[in-house]
């Protein structure tokens, strides 16, 4: 007689099938296909924002940038000539499927914090592939340490004597330069006649240590105000706020029924400082460290006024979300995309990330971007982020690395690799997507954007202390004035003296735009 009881094997099989069906039903779309040759580069960036301070992120990944000129021909030309470039898109994001070719005698190791699956890396890969096409003897391999651990990986590799030939550099850049790990680039820049005046001065200045050039910037970004059009209209507001007063007024009107007017992402270190806090003292002509890098300026009225305004949005006006102290960038996109937060600042990469968090949202209709509000008698201004590239002294193929660096830094290639962020050269802005009107708030802000903490050996320790300070302000443990004075004393008496010998003479005027 056939038993009606389900056997264990059948039970497990049925369970497996059910799980598979559930996964299939809940699973996302298939992996994004490689863009067709006719597609312009998308301004999409799945990568975290290129701020100065790495934060928690994805797992490490490693891949190899395929070399050019081998068995499989490239699908399309990777770059355009400069002459044909005006107002047209840079090279389409085509990723040829090369294999390792015989006859490439030079292997060049390049490390990037961009993860291989991101659009930003695909934009970079176009540049690298076009380089290999032009240089059939050079084979570029790439590694992509996790974004959160990128700086740790650089420091470890430097100490172990196993650095790459060329890489992006992060927080440890001044230490690496001072320690002799990076190649001084002034002679190289003169050799290739690179027009440094074409770079944004604020960003370029962060590449100098002890008045010597040790890096070149590949992205230079600033922030703008993202606002939810519908939430503002529902509160009777037709235009986004332009001044601090209007920001408070609009945020108060919007804050009701579980919706918050102003989003704070207080959870991941550098982003908290860079994404929004620094904007308010930069707009008010405040500084964290003096131009000569010899003292903290957080006890000055310019800084205190900006910091107080930022703090009171949370502690006095109560227009920020309850999870402000812990929300990271992804949480902020989710809160904004779901209509829980009406306004927050972000770089251009925020647009695709918001749409990723809610596919029903349409840019222009549901949400839009404007200049971040600033005091009526002052000027716009935000943090200036971005990434730098350096060549390592231990490299045995420095000539090849210099060739790659020179190739990267043509106006059209800068436009290509920065297509999901912002370029560092003024002449790159004529290319798509940077000539799109939606970038206008960014271009209006860019001349006033600057790094919150200058390039200095003590920078990482100052940034960490600042993060702690901001969290205490956000939680209402102390006023901005108290916090600023305590911080200034700590920096002046404990942190700066430790670095006094190493930072002496390194004044690069990084805060001067």
């Amino acid at each position: 007689m056939r038993s009606s009881v389900c056997s264990r094997r059948r039970f497990v099989l049925m369970g497996g099938l059910a799980a598979a069906a559930l996964l299939q039903a809940c699973g996302g779309a298939a992996p994004t296909a490689v863009p067709k040759p006719t597609e312009a580069p998308k301004p999409a960036a799945a990568a975290p924002a290129p701020s100065g301070t790495p934060t928690a992120g994805a797992a490490a990944a490693s891949t190899t940038a395929p070399p050019a000129g081998s068995a499989t021909a490239p699908a399309a030309a990777a770059t355009q000539s400069a002459g044909a470039a005006a107002t047209t898109a840079p090279a389409p994001a085509v990723i040829p499927t090369y294999t390792r070719a015989a006859g490439r005698s030079i292997q060049l190791k390049y490390w990037s914090q961009l993860q291989p699956e991101t659009q930003r890396w695909k934009d970079n890969l176009v540049v690298i592939n076009s380089f290999m096409e032009k240089n059939p003897d050079i084979y570029v391999t790439t590694e992509h340490p996790a974004f959160a651990d990128f700086d740790t990986k650089l420091v470890t590799a430097a100490r172990a004597g196993t650095p790459p030939d060329m890489s992006e550099v992060a927080d440890s850049f001044p230490q690496l330069a001072k320690g002799g790990y990076l190649v001084q680039l002034d002679p190289f820049v003169q050799d290739i006649k690179l027009d440094l005046k074409d770079y944004y001065a604020g960003k370029l200045s962060t590449c100098y240590v002890d008045q010597k050039l040790y890096a070149l910037p590949i992205t230079a970004d600033c922030r703008a105000l993202f606002y939810n059009v519908k939430l503002l209209k529902d509160a009777g507001v037709e235009q986004p706020p332009k001044s601090w007063d209007e920001l408070v007024d609009v945020a108060k009107k919007v804050t009701k029924n579980g919706v918050y007017g102003w989003g704070v992402q207080g959870g991941n270190q550098g982003f908290m400082i860079c994404e929004q806090f620094s904007a308010f003292f930069i707009q008010n002509d405040g500084q964290i460290i003096s131009d000569d890098q010899k003292k903290a300026m957080t006890d000055q009225p310019e800084w205190i006024t900006g910091a107080t305004f930022w703090q009171e949005l949370t502690t006095k006006h109560k227009v920020t979300q309850p999870s402000a102290a812990t929300d990271d960038q992804n949480a902020m996109y989710a809160l904004f995309a779901q209509g829980k937060v009406a306004m927050f600042p972000s770089g251009p990469w925020g647009r695709p990330n918001v749409i990723d968090a809610n596919k029903n949202l349409k840019f222009g209709e549901d949400f839009n971007v404007s200049v971040l509000p600033y005091p009526r008698d002052k000027h716009p201004g935000t943090c200036q982020g971005g990434w730098l590239q350096s060549i390592w002294s231990a490299s045995k193929v420095q000539d090849a690395a210099k060739k790659l660096l020179a190739h990267y830094h043509t106006p059209e290639n800068i436009a290509q690799e920065a297509a999901s962020s912002m370029p560092t050269r003024a002449s790159s802005t004529k290319f798509k997507p940077f000539n799109d009107p939606w970038y206008d708030p960014y271009w209006q802000t860019m001349p006033f954007a600057r790094a919150p903490v200058p390039t200095m050996a003590a920078g990482a320790e100052i940034g960490t202390a600042l993060y702690k300070l901001l969290q205490s302000m956000l939680l209402g443990q102390q006023t901005a004035e108290q916090a600023g004075k305590t911080f200034a004393q700590d920096v002046n008496t404990r942190i700066l003296p430790k670095y006094a010998s190493s930072d002496a003479g390194s004044g690069c005027g990084c805060l001067t735009v």
Binding site: G179, G266, A325, Q471, L475
Partner: protein
């Protein structure tokens, strides 16, 4: 015809036999020395030198790095948080793991499935655990608030990881969830090794319930509990990933434990000498704690 075997004097042959086992383990000892002893000695060596990423030379500075790190205002607070984190985690894991082990030691339908499912938190990567718990604790979307708010015991939309008063306990709870299956497995294995006749004899003598647990089960689990608590203490004191991925040591340093403090000094501030001094201090504290604990347990065992 082969040559006769060399005559080995009796005394020397015995010496060779005595040496033989050591020769067999020598390769493994060499590898261990290379991967464990060398880094430790090198770390201690670095702690006596001024060593930063910018150093062109690394001069000997004696105990200067130790003096510097002990003078950091945060140092005492970091030690206190580390101890709270470790003891809270060990205690929570032991209680929860023990309770679940007692429950699973009784036969019931589906026990095998439960045992397997309860191991999931332990085998899960700490970063995944951190992401899950971050969302569980989220003030706006978190399940924890949705469950607790109707009870009215806590303020609405409590930000568990964003409040310095609750953050440490919140990460300890997540760590207990992650670590209790280890205790459960060890205690369960220990309980199943206890001879059932001892229980029968105790029952004949009139022992029931708690008496069986206190006078039969726990004394027989002493060795298992000693080993498990030492391993758990070491594992939790060394734990870096979970707390870093959940709070990065914040808010306002309220969850900054010693491993995060060391990492910050080494890789963020690139002050390797000071970080090595902290790590050496950390290793000494661990060694002393384990020695004292093991000795105390051995004495209690002898007394019993």
């Amino acid at each position: 015809m082969s040559a006769p075997a060399p005559v080995v004097p009796r005394g020397r042959w015995v010496t060779y036999r005595q040496l033989y086992p050591y020769l067999l383990v020598a390769p493994a000892l060499c590898v261990l020395a290379l991967v464990l002893l060398y880094p430790f000695v090198d770390g201690v060596w670095i702690s006596f030198h001024e060593d930063t990423l910018m150093s062109q030379s690394r001069p000997f500075v004696g105990l200067q790095n130790y003096r510097t790190v002990f003078a950091i205002p945060q140092f005492g607070m970091v030690l206190r948080i580390s101890l709270t984190w470790t003891l809270g985690s060990v205690l929570g894991e032991a209680v929860l793991g023990g309770a679940v082990a007692v429950a699973l030691n009784r036969p019931f339908r589906g026990r095998g499935v439960f045992r397997a499912l309860l191991l999931v938190p332990w085998v899960m990567p700490p970063v995944v655990t951190a992401v899950i718990w971050r969302w569980l604790y989220h003030a706006e979307f978190g399940v924890v608030n949705q469950l607790l708010e109707p009870l009215g015991l806590f303020p609405p939309k409590e930000n568990w990881l964003g409040d310095p008063n609750t953050a440490l306990w919140a990460v300890i709870a997540a760590n207990v969830w992650r670590g209790f299956p280890f205790w459960m497995t060890m205690i369960l294995a220990g309980m199943q090794a206890i001879d059932p006749e001892i229980y029968e004899a105790a029952r004949v003598d009139g022992a029931r319930g708690w008496q069986l647990l206190c006078y039969v089960t726990l004394p027989n689990l002493r060795i298992v509990l000693t080993i498990t608590s030492i391993l758990s203490f070491v594992g939790n004191f060394n734990n870096f990933t979970l707390i870093y991925a959940m709070t990065e040591g914040g808010p306002v340093d309220s969850t900054k434990i010693l491993p995060i403090f060391i990492w910050e000094n080494a890789f963020k501030f690139t002050r390797f000498g000071e970080a090595a001094a902290l790590a050496t201090f950390f290793a000494v504290v661990m060694a002393i704690a384990i020695l004292v604990y093991a000795r105390a347990l051995r004495l209690r065992s002898r007394d019993a």
